[in-house]
Amino acid sequence: MSANEKITRLQNLLERVQTRGVQPREARTNGASAAFAAPVAQAAYVAPEVAEPTFDAPAFEEPDLEMMPAATADASSSVPPPTVDYDVESDMEVEVSSEVVEVDIDIDEPMALESGAQPVGQQTMPPGEMEEELEPLVAAPLEEPAAELEEVVDEPPPANEIEEPSPSSSRRPIASEEPAAEAYSEESAPRHTPPPESGKQVAAAPSNPPSRNPSMPPPSLEGHTLIGGWREPGLGPQLGPSAGSPVRGPGTEPPVHIAPPAVAAAQPSGTRLSPDVTRPNLPARANVASFQGAAPVAKPKTLGELLDLTLGL
């Protein structure tokens, strides 16, 4: 199918839509019975309110066809579902062919459209029509128009229509925006206390603050060392090594003489007795033992002498 044929068919379709839209409401309502007699699949394609602004005559003219792929691109992105109110009673007589989608094929497009990121369709539309058609174009994705229209007409079916259970892969209805808005309003509420203002946090003053020596140097030479340094606050000059106090090691403490409690208790009050010890002064070593002569050592030279010795035992 060439572009001209597509355009021709679209124009014919547009004319049919316009003529049916001009018809009075009663005529359309009467004709709805015939639409209800049609198969369910045909009824799914009915979307009069949406189709009327979408397929407006200037939109299908040669320059306006460029907006179709742009709108498709917008619809492919995450666009919220359409929120347009549809008149179900007036939608039953309109048949929209899905071949409309094929219009966007052989049209020369500017380079900016190839990326698909720029909503060129919105820019090329006339400003006057843009306000009216922008919302339906964005809301109704043209990539799958029949499916979207099915979703829009997802309302209680007529009594004479057989309701088929929707497959598991079908789209599920989206909740209304009011509860979501309430949820968002709850989410938007501050969860935490507002952060403190910028500035230094001042700790609460203790009930009984300990007395501390000031860290400022004293006006006199009290806090200054002899070499010009500064002594730590709180250390008086009498405690420093420069004051002449010796540094004591762990084992250099003088022994403390404490009287035994038993002796102290035995002493009557007023009289103090101490023992007078006399210790002998003995040499550490001395040559005390002296020997005279030598022990006899038997060194027999002959067997006879040895026999005399061993027999003498």
């Binding site: 038997a298 067997l303 006879g304 040895l306 061993t310 035992l313």
Partner: protein, 185 residues
């Protein structure tokens, strides 16, 4: 035959075998008989002591004959006398013998004895020394070591009896000889 002044022991011709006559004799012409050592084990202690004394006296007599009699033996040095005594006991197959002197005590060590019985070996030692020196000597066992060496005290009969009592009480040979020197009893 070695001269009495020869310090070394010469075993040449110590045993002669007359194969035609079917006899064995020592250097002095005394008849010998080769007896298996296991046969001696069958004998009792008294018999072994008697046989041992006789065998030892024969060995001592040959030593004395070599060294000029018992006076020559007693006047000989310990080394010469021990060499001749050990040589004669070795030819008789008693075992390897050497002498230790512990103070005044004379201790003879026998290695690889032919008979395990101490009474037999002690009797051989006492008989050999008595026959060689001309003085009555008695032997008493001091004990055996792990290598099979047996120690014997040689002295008077009274002292030998005391040594046996000390050994029987469980004292080691060093303690026994120390006691014999006049220490604690």
């Amino acid at each position: 035959m070695a001269s009495p002044t020869d310090p070394s022991f010469d075993p040449t011709g110590a045993v002669r075998f007359d194969l035609r006559a079917g006899s064995a004799s020592d250097s002095q012409g005394a008849r010998l008989v080769l007896v298996p050592s296991d046969a001696l084990e069958l004998l009792g202690a008294e018999a072994l002591t008697a046989i041992g004394l006789h065998m030892g006296r024969a060995c001592g007599a040959r030593v004395a004959a070599r060294l000029g009699g018992d006076d020559g033996v007693r006047s000989s040095s310990l080394e010469v006398a021990v060499a001749h005594l050990s040589g004669e006991l070795a030819v008789a197959g008693i075992g390897a013998v050497h002498v230790e002197r512990w103070g005044r005590a004379m201790v003879v060590i026998v290695s690889n004895p032919c008979v395990a019985d101490d009474a037999f070996v002690g009797a051989v030692l006492a008989g050999a020394l008595s026959a060689a020196s001309g003085r009555e000597v008695t032997a008493a066992a001091l004990g055996r070591e792990q290598g099979g060496e047996a120690r014997y005290f040689l002295g008077s009969a009274a002292t030998a009896e005391r040594v046996e009592e000390l050994v029987a009480s469980g004292k080691a040979y060093a303690e026994v000889v120390a006691i014999l020197q006049g220490g604690s009893s």
